[in-house]
Symmetry: C2
Subunit: 326 residues, 2 copies
Amino acid sequence: MEKIRIGIVGYGNLGRGVQYAATQNEDMEVVAVFTRRDPAAVKTVLPVKVEKMDAMADYVGKIDVMILCGGSATDLPKQSAEVVRLFDTVDSFDTHAHIPEYFDRLDAAAKEAGHVGAMSIGWDPGLFSLARIYFGSALSQGKTYTFWGKGVSQGHSDAIRRVPGVKDARQYTVPVEEALRRVRSGEEPALTTREKHTRECYVVAEEGADLARIERDIKTMPDYFADYDTTVHFISEEELQRDHAGIPHGGFVLRSGRSATGSRFLMEFSLKLDSNPEFTSSVLVAYARAVYRLHKEGKTGAVTAFDVAPKYLCPLSEAEQRRTLL
Amino acid sequence: MEKIRIGIVGYGNLGRGVQYAATQNEDMEVVAVFTRRDPAAVKTVLPVKVEKMDAMADYVGKIDVMILCGGSATDLPKQSAEVVRLFDTVDSFDTHAHIPEYFDRLDAAAKEAGHVGAMSIGWDPGLFSLARIYFGSALSQGKTYTFWGKGVSQGHSDAIRRVPGVKDARQYTVPVEEALRRVRSGEEPALTTREKHTRECYVVAEEGADLARIERDIKTMPDYFADYDTTVHFISEEELQRDHAGIPHGGFVLRSGRSATGSRFLMEFSLKLDSNPEFTSSVLVAYARAVYRLHKEGKTGAVTAFDVAPKYLCPLSEAEQRRTLL
């Protein structure tokens, strides 16, 4: 079998996840990992060549698709339009507010180079976006809801760690059961931020720190916590390691609506994930297959999950897809 | 706004549903209904021109997409390859075993005529097929399950009506809660037909009929009931009209799997529908939009939900889709 040759750019949780996920797909092989660090210092979870970022150009013709595993804040906005000049790419850019400009930049660079760049791939944006567009199209009159969790928010955990006196922290976003129940009942409620999610914080304080002040600082933090019902639990470092080492996540996309005669419909998609980055990686790998095939068909430019027909993701032939999955 | 001009071929529950669903989409208008019956005898739920089937050719240039609302047993296999010679089409062909040959025939006719024929559109096949292909692609190691119900099976209700002494009947397919629970738990069980669904039958018997014999005839009916735990309730005609007039349906597609490191993932898609035909109609209309756009881009041939990128279904521009739904 002809293998799709993958490069991994950036080697954190997501990069490791891609390396693992590729082993679950017979038509994939990881050729090299590219890092900003000293390659000799990067310990990979499975054997693979590690290269410096600027060695990438040497791999033209040896790698089909580069999966960009950096962060959305600084890595991806810099990297994606550069890498797509040399390779087809897939990334998980997830800063919603900047998606339009990111798309335009990637699209221009990809078209100029004759490559395909798949952006904002993962589960949200990604599979959840797919649920939103399919649900809204299939049922034009109705209301769509997205709930996240229960799961760890890295950004919120980091925000707590910046509070003076905090040694370490883990923050869970939790969907409010009562809100989910109301949506499922078909009443199409208008829900405030506070009504949709609560925030649970597990905090390891430094010795002698003022716990009441830490709790207040967290609960009143604008944007992150002030608009939510937030609970703060102080725990020991051992408890944090023992009970909160994982990075679980998940969530729900629901659409409730009705026909012109008043018949009610409820559509629901949910995910329950032991590991957020490992699942995202698994989706990235499927889109690497799609990008590889789209390129072969002569497609160029930026694409999102909305632009990719599902047949491109699946390793089966189109006839097999129809026979076994339709 | 330029409207997509729709024709409805066949005017049963599905045809009526399409007429209603089109009113919920501003970019659609229904131009005419085509029927095998005497057009004067067809009472439409909303005002629209009703024509005989053989008047269809007069509508070339006046209708963009024909939505075929006949049955899969005899209507669609005859009609689709004929109608696609004159128009783009959408249909809900759902006889799984015959999908490959149906596709080939429709594809050849559509390509010859320069049209697009979307087939097997609805929720299963259709949205459930999409869940199966997306889930399986996003998570290559795992097991996919489809459960149907609780909902009315027309085919099984008809089978009961053919039992001597039965005046009328309604059959519900019901997913087994315990089976759903086991799938959600991640154990990836092997489930028999009997373990997945039960069948509940509401039967109106003719006066003086042998109820025990009817019950036995139903429960032992091969293919339809023999492999299931079946319950038969005898009720009055009034009760059937009062409590079982609707055609609700729904179901679940689940995929349970794990990463190479053992992290577990659960993906679930579910539908709860007051009216099976009205929801199917709503999906057909969304794919009429897709077919219209694909044709404009020069695409020809048969397509299934697997071949259609989600962007084609949504009335929003691609930039708006990215801005609001991604």
